[in-house]
Subunit: 208 residues, 2 copies
Amino acid sequence: MHIDRFPSRLLENAVNEFAKLPGIGRKSALRLVLHLLKQDLQEVEIFGNSLIQLRSEIKHCKVCHNISDTDICSICANPSRNPSIICVVENIKDVMSIENTQQFKGLYHVLGGIISPMDGIGPSDLEVDSLVTRVNEGNTEEIILALSTTMEGDTTNFFIYKKLKNTEVKISTLARGVSIGDELEYTDEVTLGRSIVNRMNFEESIIR
Amino acid sequence: MHIDRFPSRLLENAVNEFAKLPGIGRKSALRLVLHLLKQDLQEVEIFGNSLIQLRSEIKHCKVCHNISDTDICSICANPSRNPSIICVVENIKDVMSIENTQQFKGLYHVLGGIISPMDGIGPSDLEVDSLVTRVNEGNTEEIILALSTTMEGDTTNFFIYKKLKNTEVKISTLARGVSIGDELEYTDEVTLGRSIVNRMNFEESIIR
């Protein structure tokens, strides 16, 4: 079904707006809009206003640059977290992923992207200078670089490493190796090779 | 990735609202909301308000019950269309599909659903009475029943047929047969059997 003959300009506008979202085609957009049409006006107002309110009122934490409802986010403001360890991540999704593991009790630093010349993203577009400033304030003992294991991630890791290597701070990165639950047969060669070279003490490998 | 630890209540609200839409899970909802966060406030306001405006201002055509920006829709108000033929469809998507074929120059009647006891939809939930009223006004020569070829569609067809069989109006339905472009090998048995029984004059089968 082609959808280009709309019985209503209002309908067409709403479908066009929905179809601008990534991964939503015009047929999906029409389906979603017709679904909203069946809801109560109040429900649709809550939906539309929740998006507008999010965009207009959202803040970025002044310390870690994660998104937040307040000037300092709930993680940075939490006194039970260890402020001497900073985990550097690309975006807020990564913060949420790591938080879900419940294994990290330090703070974060959200770069807002990774260095990617193909997409025109250079170091000045990222929160690297503010990371260096945070480290220079002197309360940091360790920086964990938790970026993607891609060329862009490695480039960004190396850029940050160069900026911080003359400080006292310890710089670590996520352990690389065979995923837990993976069968060796299906593990890629590079990961498998690295995991043999960087083999670890068996006792330390036991999940506690 | 589980997503239950949101750094912001505003973000959580927006994700929850998006995830209420059919076919949008929580991961997709987060992806869409983070996309909107990157857009200008003005863009997000246009998006949100286009939905609210659609829901609050949309009308249903008083004649055919299709959705419309005006009291009488552009199809019913078009003097070049033939008002003596009414095509009965389930919903506005079907109107758009048939309009896209450019093969029908009559008017429509949108039932707003089909009889489906499983979903609690009975004849009184549909625009059947208004169809009978339209026919009784006397300007209609033919009713085309263009509902789905499902049990619910057949039930609805038969219900409408019973309501109208004592009038002068001709009642027809869409031709059933092998889809144009289909290979016989992959056509289902019921359709193929029916298309042999209801075989048509070859000259009439040629698309003009």
